[in-house]
Symmetry: C2
Subunit: 331 residues, 2 copies
């Protein structure tokens, strides 16, 4: 537990220290966010806030997660976690870079983003499938039973990975929203992995490393929120939300707890779902809308709820859901 706490603390201190170096540098390089043309009008004033701030937590989070890991024994979870976070993060980085340099609000086309994401997701799914400690089954939350998917595991897991990463991206629409929801989820996964490490002595090293990785991400995001909370001095950008989605989905994959994601990352799930509902309904009805705007947090915003209030609501619900999720692991 010492190791886990230290990882969180060191990552937090590093990212707090990293912020004042990165933010002015991003500003100088003109990595100001070109505000999405389809967002709420009130967001126009956010034009010029630097983006790609996700590197403030990515660098300390991944470095500390690796540096504080255990080294003895057969350890294969950490490489998967790093590949998941960095692989998807790289797609986001390219997207951000194009947005900023070409001054094009949308960056990569959806297809250009999706294809490398699917490739990374399939590679990770096969990797996990072949790992004797992970294999083809998922834990069914609260039911204390496994759901063996056989080879079908690979497309399902790839879908979960791609879905989570893009959901995290969709959630990233209000100051501090995606960061604080992820922070709470990483805290929850840290506790769960810590408990799993104690309960599975034969695989304790892998679970400890996953807990350390999760704790480092948790700590690093704390530091990042210092600069990203309302009013934000920096946005995380696609690089940030893709790293967060990749890291979260990666942890869920190695712990076989992907079915927990719709609970503890409900905020991400409803962001995607509300988007899908909105678009489908719009197409079906040739122009009618379910929400004032999708994803859901923009609907609340246009309904007159203050931005900070929406973020608080999402946070509080996420904390409650994480507590409920922990019930499945408590004695």
């Amino acid at each position: 537990m010492q190791r886990i706490l230290w990882a969180a603390l060191v990552a937090c201190v590093l990212s707090v220290a990293f912020g004042p170096i990165v933010v002015p540098w991003l500003k100088k390089l003109k990595f100001g966010q070109t505000i999405y043309d389809l967002g709420p009008q009130s967001h126009k004033k956010k034009q010029g806030t630097p983006t790609m701030g996700g590197i403030i937590f990515t660098v300390p989070g991944l470095l500390v997660g690796a540096a504080f890991s255990v080294r003895e024994g057969r350890l294969d979870y950490l490489p998967m976690l790093l590949v998941s976070a960095l692989g998807f993060g790289l797609v986001g980085f390219v997207d951000d870079f194009i947005k900023v340099k070409l001054k094009r609000s949308l960056g990569l086309t959806p297809k250009q983003k999706l294809i490398p994401q699917i490739v990374i997701a399939i590679a990770l799914s096969v990797w996990a499938y072949l790992n004797p400690n992970i294999g083809s089954s998922l834990i069914v939350p609260f039911a204390k039973t496994d759901w063996n998917l056989g080879w079908f595991y690979i497309p399902v897991m790839a879908f979960i990975l791609v879905g989570t990463v893009n959901s995290a991206n969709l959630l990233d629409g209000l100051d501090g929203l995606c960061g604080s929801i992820s922070m709470i989820d990483f805290a929850c996964f840290t506790v769960i992995c810590g408990l799993l490490a104690v309960r599975s002595p034969e695989n304790a090293g892998n679970f400890t490393n996953t807990a350390v990785f999760s704790a480092a991400m948790f700590g690093a995001i704390i530091g990042f929120l210092r600069y990203n909370s309302h009013p934000a001095q920096v946005f995380m950008g696609d690089v940030g939300s893709f790293v967060l989605g990749g890291a979260l989905a990666g942890i869920a994959m190695v712990t076989r707890l992907s079915l927990l994601l719709p609970i503890i990352a409900l905020a991400m799930f409803v962001s995607s779902l509300s988007d899908i509902i909105q678009i489908s309904y719009f197409k079906l009805t040739h122009g009618k809308r379910v929400f004032k705007m999708a994803p859901l947090h923009h609907h609340f915003e246009l309904s007159g709820m203050p931005e900070t209030k929406i973020v608080t609501m999402y946070r509080l619900i996420t904390i409650a859901l994480c507590l409920a999720a922990l019930l499945g692991f408590a004695d």
Copy 2:
């Protein structure tokens, strides 16, 4: 651990449900806060926001804390915790009531507040002193040693209790500030008491009840923050901050961890300290000031930091300090 998680969850749900009943009722009874004449000018717009919202977390927190407690064995911590929270809370309630009903911004005179506080604090200190599981010594954080104060324990503990309660009160100056700092501290104490329950089988019931009480307060505040976060629909009032201070100082007292308070509740500590420094310096220099305004959070506000940003900063530092404090209890 099931019991602890359920306490947090149920208290959270109850206080979320309690809010929409209490807030309109407080408004109807005209319990609008008369904004302190000496606060920042920008706070004038907060005039009319109902106060005494602390009852939103006090009722569910204390009820759930008591209802979910263990009943077998010699249990004496929970009564102390309830007396500490309710006793100080009652002083706050009277203060709020006078403020609102007499439309006098300052409520009770300082002396009228301090005397009942000191009486309650001494009674609690004697009670703890006579308890064989608590006694006259304090744990020195990180040093793994005890500091035995002898009969001197009583005035020291009384001072800590009164100091914490009034510091919590001073911290309550920005939307969501005192609530979220206390929430983080209760989460930290929940983990610590949970660990102590496992490690001290002979006193497990008492530590479990303290963890349950702390978790219930944590959960209840989550629900309260739904209504108190920026922009606040309700303030906690003195009844709220006195209950929080009393509950925190009470937990610290029964666990003999009062020396941990200046670390995990540093935000409260610096609120008092900055006030004391400001007033002493003002008197010494016949009119000079160290801070633009005391307590410290108003200094940051007048220095141009947005209210939400100050609250975030206080929260993040508190999380980091709580992680550091947990290091002293980790294997």
